[in-house]
């Protein structure tokens, strides 16, 4: 038998395997797995929002809030929606814990493609989101259900490819993206289908797009401690969450960077690139009204011990020029709970997130701005 026949034999089989895999990749890309995805996973949360929007009718959406878990807990989305409703508008919340710049943009892009009446957005971010390109490979979970093949390079820019980490292959392939989801389904099939049923019922009327998360506890027991001493605190039922967070942050605190010379391109070459990417991203959103960029409150312990020194100035150096040019409306609430003394510990329920009290205080000041910047003068959609 000739080498030509062998080659043909092998190539045909490779083509057969590739065809089946590409078919499956395409099926995953068009959402074949979405009905089975774990509802509370990163991908599942993005899928739930897509499904809720589709059930409600995407044409009914006027404004959207995107952001991470700080936005989920830090803003009363029901009050925002109620205010919008009083103006005859519909403002949904599409914030997802773990959402970073890549997934936020993909969510906005997806909504713009599906919601023809979308007029503007509120981007609830915070200064910690400017120090790093992405939010780790798990952000790919949020991004994949919202992305298309053409987004691969954009995603890889935020989640760098690592040969030894199969999760990062998810930038290029949806088959890789649902790895954890599929493993979990095999391990807990009955639990998965029960969960999917529950979430389907809860999301059937679109109400979940306006819901707020409210937690009442506070962090006053450790408010004046450093990360190191907080991590060494004896664990009790009152502080176990916060102490474990402190423990997980000890290494970061010990390796605190210094961004005070962020303009020094020789010292921080990646920051100049990062600034360009963020600014062009915000410029390209393409809304008729400049989007509101809200810098959510961040506890002092982050600014003093964890974030690179000068991180706040660095974040503002990106946003302020855009605000000056009218590309965005910048609302800086980073230090909102610094004063008066004791306000901060009563406004957060852990080291990251505001509690119900903090949420209401921030929403009180936010609502008039939203009304003025987004709703006033907006043409009401005809029913």
């Amino acid at each position: 038998m000739s080498a030509k026949v062998t080659l043909r034999f092998v190539l045909l089989r490779i083509a057969g395997i590739a065809f089946i895999l590409l078919l499956l990749e395409a099926a995953f890309r068009v959402g074949a797995w979405e009905s089975f995805a774990k509802p509370d996973s990163n991908a599942g949360m993005a899928i739930r929002i897509k499904q809720a929007v589709n059930m409600m009718g995407p044409e009914k959406i006027d404004f959207v809030t995107v952001g991470d878990s700080r936005a989920v807990y830090g803003i009363d989305h029901e009050r925002v929606a109620a205010l919008a409703k009083s103006h005859g508008l519909n403002h949904i919340n599409a914030s997802i814990p773990g959402m970073h710049w890549m997934s936020a943009e993909l969510m906005v892009r997806w909504l713009k493609a599906h919601a023809p009446n979308l007029k503007g957005a509120m981007i609830a971010t915070n200064i910690t989101n400017f120090s790093y390109t992405g939010n780790g490979y798990y952000e790919l979970g949020i991004a994949t259900p919202l992305s298309s093949l053409s987004d691969a390079s954009w995603m890889a820019l935020h989640v760098p490819f690592e040969q030894k980490n199969l999760a990062t292959y998810g930038s290029y392939s949806a088959l890789f993206q649902y790895r954890d989801d599929i493993t979990d389904l095999i391990k807990h099939p009955t639990q998965r289908f029960r969960q999917i049923r529950q979430y389907r019922q809860a999301y059937s009327n679109g109400a979940a797009l306006y819901q707020s998360q409210k937690i009442n506890s506070n962090i006053c027991s450790i408010a004046k401690l450093s990360i190191k001493s907080c991590a060494a605190e004896p664990v009790s039922t009152m502080n176990s969450t916060i102490v474990s967070q402190c423990k997980s942050l000890v290494v970061q605190a010990a390796n605190q960077l210094d961004y005070r010379e962020f303009d020094n391109a020789a010292k921080w070459p990646h920051l100049a690139e990062l600034k360009k990417v963020r600014q062009s991203q915000l410029r390209s959103l393409g809304f008729s009204k400049p989007p509101l960029v809200v810098l959510m409150p961040v506890p002092r312990i982050w600014r003093d011990e964890l974030l690179p020194r000068g991180a706040e100035d660095w974040a503002l150096s990106i946003l302020r020029p855009l605000a000056a040019q009218g590309v965005i409306e910048l609302l800086d609430y980073t230090r909102f709970f610094d004063e008066p003394e004791g306000a901060e510990c009563n406004a957060f329920w852990d080291l990251y997130h505001q509690n119900a009290d903090g949420q209401q205080k921030l929403t009180d000041v936010l609502l008039p701005v939203i009304q003025r910047q987004l709703y006033t003068g907006t043409k009401i959609r005809q029913p």
């Binding site: 080498a3 089989r13 057969g16 065809f19 089946i20 199969l166």
Partner: protein
Amino acid sequence: MLFNSWHFIAFALLVLSVASWLPRNETAWKIFIIAASCYFYGQWSYLYLGLIFVTAAIDFTIAQRLSQARYPGRLLGLSIVANLGVLAFFKYTNFLIQSANGVAHATGAAWAITPLDIVLPVGISFYTFQNMSYTIDVYRGQLAPRKSILDYALFTTFFPQLLAGPIVRASEFFSQLDQPARIDLRKIQYALILIAAGYVKKIVLADNLAISVDEVFLAPASASAWQVLLAVYAFAFQIYFDFSGYTDIAIGLALLLGFEFPKNFNYPYLATSFQEFWRRWHMTLSRWLRDYLYISLGGNRYGPARTIASLMATMILGGLWHGASWNFVVWGALHGIYLVLERLVTPKIPWWQSAWLPVAWLRWFIVFHLICFAWIFFRAPDFSTSLQIIHKIGGVFTTPFDGIHSAGLASLLLGLMAMHFLMSHFDIKQRLSLAGIWPFSLFVAAMILLLIWFTPAKTVPFIYFQF
């Protein structure tokens, strides 16, 4: 370079592509495969690659001279001493030093020998046995000495089986090397199926089982009795999938290069006797031990007492071949005892060999559990941990089954045993090798999907690479 690395996959693709364009079994092809094998081994250590060539040169030269020698037995002895000497130095020197230190400490002696800084050459146990089989076969007149050193270098360094077998006899290898090249498309398809299935066995099954096994064997005190018991069963499957997965890949690669290697596993956990287990488990090692050690020690030719002594010696040395530790000695000795008892006791129980299904199941149950018991010593890092694990397992008789922690693993293991049984009845790999393009493509695509979805975060080296 591990088989389960991108580096190896790229290497294998390149080697197979180039090798397929060279005239097979001719000088250029041989030089290319030797060079590729050297590169493959050199990724671990070029220094120890030299050791392979030194031992190969000794065996090649001795085999050349055996037929004309006045005292061929002495020459063979020289070859055995050289091979075992190198193996003993690298593998057992520190074991002997530590054992001597242990005895000295126990008897209150004040001296202790400092262990040497020796790195164990990868694959030494395997290539040493292969080289020895060559000179012994030539000595016995079962094989003509090879004229070409290039051929012998190819046999010794052939990368698919260099690190962990299968232990191929020189006669098997050379007879195929001498045959004219023939391309069999079904064999190519079979090889690709073997490789795909081998990767799934290793990465999807063995490496995921390793997570549960390692957790328990590292800290048995913090696991429940049921978790420890399941970890022992899990290790039985982990080592099977790990080693037979490697073997499948090795046999598949060799087949793509034109060599049919002997089978190394044949559903070992279906064995209903220990003799049968050793005919199904690491078959190429079993036959090596039988042909070159057990028979040389007298086998069953000199009465029951000598047979028992030969069996025990073979199994203990077989255990020690795996690793330099008393745990491997115990593992080998346990299998020796099993085989001896089987030989002595079972003929006296008339119903024991009955074909009646419940009796067959009873035989299987006892054999499987005693094999698993022996695996405890194989896997545990030391003797005291082995005893701790055995003691802990005793707790299953007094502790209720902890369903929340163990139900998942228990059902997985039952599923694997059922699969082991079913696969032995339907030789899917053979059937698929005859199938058309779509059944084949579906099978391989399914294997790739399993690899995409179930590859654990941590890469686990092949267990047998350490031997």
